[in-house]
């Protein structure tokens, strides 16, 4: 394990790791049921350095922004290392966004360089708002022979004349700009520094050490703050192996656990719940006698691991369950959204500890993490070492807004000092989430103060980001809200969005209007869709610049309407 206090930048730490473990396998890429590639740290270095040279010859200077839009694969990490080593600032964009959203964020981030895989680039080029004269220098991976790249360079064919120079950065310099939202509204580009990442990594490995021989299955998109940390930086500084899957079909994910004898994986609650369902169905099919024996063994495991997980014992006690996960799984990390305690307990009872955590991109990923001493299914764990958490304006029940302070909190939002000032107050990151700290220092979450939802897939959806598809709806005015924002409830599951429409005078909400709303709704990615609508007859309160006063409107609606007023769409 590298001593990260010795390094000032991600580039420097990663360079050191490449030298320290040249013969260890760092990356395995699997395509369905076969290996596509295996790279040692030496191979990684030999692939990354020439690309760093290419970027530098193409004009990438220290501090320049370079974006990556790719599914999880070795070239993602190779490109990222080349950017860091060249002193660049990485802009990891979500490959699941639409081409127009990609273009909007490329513009907002002022990315001078883009590394993108061919199918995604093809979609971007075909977008109505694509401008061929863009100034961005683009490298496209895996383009088929003869493909029209619209002026982009072919990643695999570019060569530089000279070796690259390593460009050192300071801890306070930006390392990444990560968008936590804002594809359709106000972009929130979190500027995270090298120091943010190095300190976050140091805190995580103090609880979950990574070393050569550890294999991490990377399923969440690497552009996501969690996988960037847990599926890239953390394994690399420990000399561990990262496994990428080209297909995320459930059957290939299940196979990967066994084939690569996975040690750690990060999942979103939706996938964890799906695993729970699959296992539950298998257990239900056991003959009655076997089922009773199995239940008894699970009960024994629960008692024996009450204080702390003893994975070796659980593997011995419940071998069939553990074999299905490859037999070497130490823990599953879960994050990105709220996980139900019953799901966490289900896995823990089987001897598979799930490290439940809580974080925000603005906090450099993780704020609290369950360290299993002891395991708690009812909380999101304790603050990471070095991070402070406090509850602002707690009510009589101790519930208030969660605020966090520490070395992992982002520097600022890109080009938005106003939003930065609202979000980071006297050094404290105001999360907008509601929680309570207990006597053991564990944080428990109770809903949100902010107008947004998080899906079980770990997607943050802000109402402002999806309102553009409803522009032109033939009503007087409309506004989208998170239902839990209108009528706060102490839950973080099953969150939904609703649209509030104010009809024209005399207008009724007929089938034509409902069909219009439905059609517009379907233009959104499934996880972004609204689930119902509300009719509101009064004027929307607006500012002098005619922006809707959402807080005031929500307050008025809260007084006059009940959740039953929401009609399904």
């Amino acid at each position: 394990m590298l001593d990260l206090t010795q390094y000032d930048s991600l580039g420097a730490a990663l360079a050191a790791t490449l030298e320290k473990w040249p013969d260890e396998v760092c990356l395995i890429e699997s395509d369905r049921d076969r290996d596509r590639s295996r790279l040692t740290y030496r191979d990684f270095s030999e692939a990354a350095l020439p690309f760093a040279a290419v970027l530098q010859e193409a004009g990438l200077a220290a501090g320049d922004h370079a974006a990556i839009i790719m599914t999880n694969q070795p070239k993602w990490l190779i490109s990222a290392y080349a950017i860091f080593g060249s002193g660049g600032v990485l802009v990891p964009l979500d490959y699941k966004l639409t081409p127009s959203e990609h273009l909007a964020l490329l513009d907002h981030s002022q990315a001078r360089f883009l590394i993108v895989e061919y199918p995604l680039w093809r979609a971007i080029v075909q977008a109505a708002d694509f401008q061929p004269q863009r100034q961005t220098i683009v490298f496209v991976t895996e383009a088929p022979p003869g493909a029209d790249l619209a002026g982009a360079c072919r990643w695999e064919e570019v060569r530089a004349k000279d070796d690259p120079e390593f460009r050192s950065r300071k801890r306070s310099d930006p390392a990444c700009i990560v968008y936590s939202s804002g594809t359709g509204g106000r972009p929130k580009g979190c500027v995270l520094t090298h120091g943010n990442y190095l300190e976050q990594c140091r805190a995580i490995v103090s609880i979950f050490p990574f070393s050569p021989g550890v294999r991490y299955l990377s399923i969440l998109p690497t552009n996501h703050a969690i996988d960037f940390m847990a599926g890239f930086i953390v394994p690399f500084v420990g000399g561990a192996t990262v496994v990428h899957l080209r297909s995320l079909r459930p059957e290939f994910v299940r196979d990967a656990f066994v084939r690569y004898k996975i040690t750690y994986v990060t999942l979103v609650p939706l996938v964890l719940k799906n695993l729970e369902k699959g296992l539950g169905e298998k257990f239900a099919q056991l003959p009655p006698m076997k089922r009773r024996i199995f239940d008894a063994l699970v009960a024994v495991n629960r008692v024996m691991t009450k204080g702390y997980p003893t994975v070796e014992f659980s593997r011995w006690l419940l071998p069939q369950v553990h074999k299905a996960f490859g037999g070497e799984l130490r823990a599953i990390f879960v994050g990105g959204a709220f996980t139900e305690p019953s799901t966490l307990q289900f896995f823990y009872d089987l001897g598979i500890p799930v490290a439940n955590g809580y974080g925000l991109t603005e906090a450099g990923t993780v704020i609290t993490l369950n360290d299993f001493s002891p395991f708690r299914a009812d909380t999101v764990g304790k603050p990471l070492p070095g991070t402070e958490v406090r509850i602002v304006n707690p009510g009589p029940d101790g519930i208030g807004e969660v605020a966090a302070r520490g070395p992992t909190i982002m520097s600022h939002y890109l080009d938005d000092p106003e939003l930065t000032a609202e979000t980071i107050v006297d050094g404290w990151l105001m999360t907008g989430d509601l929680g309570r700290l207990d006597r053991q220092g564990h944080l428990r979450l109770f809903g949100r103060k902010k107008n947004m939802i998080v899906t079980a897939e770990g997607k943050n959806i802000y109402p402002e980001d999806i309102e553009n598809v409803f522009e032109g709806l033939p009503v007087t005015e409309f506004c989208v809200f998170a239902a839990n924002y209108l009528w706060p409830v102490h839950t973080m599951v099953g969150e939904q969005l609703v649209i509030v429409v104010r009809p024209e005078p005399g207008q009724t909400i007929d089938e034509t209007l409902r069909a219009d709303m439905t059609a517009r709704n379907q233009r959104l990615r499934p996880y972004k869709r609204i689930s119902g609508y509300l009719v509101w007859e009064d004027d929307f309160p607006r500012t002098a610049s005619l922006k809707i006063k959402r807080v005031d409107l929500a307050g008025q609606m809260r007084e006059k309407l009940r959740p039953a007023a929401v009609l399904p769409l």
Binding site: Y95, Q522, R525
Partner: protein
Amino acid sequence: MKTLEQTTEEILGLAALHFKVPREQLSAGDDFYRKLKIDSLQALDLLTRLEHHFGIELPDYEVQGVTDFRTLATRIQARL
């Protein structure tokens, strides 16, 4: 060689059977997330079944952003 209409028809039949939805309730232009009431993982499961049925491999990126049966049929047809 199947026509696009035949491919679409087979997809609709398979989806109806697998997710236990009356076939007559499904049409080519339908959003399958909405009509079948499925999440993203179940959609991936549907793709696997379609691959087995048609004897093809459909990379995940090919169906990125696809939500209706007709577009799905087009992507499959291109690989038959």
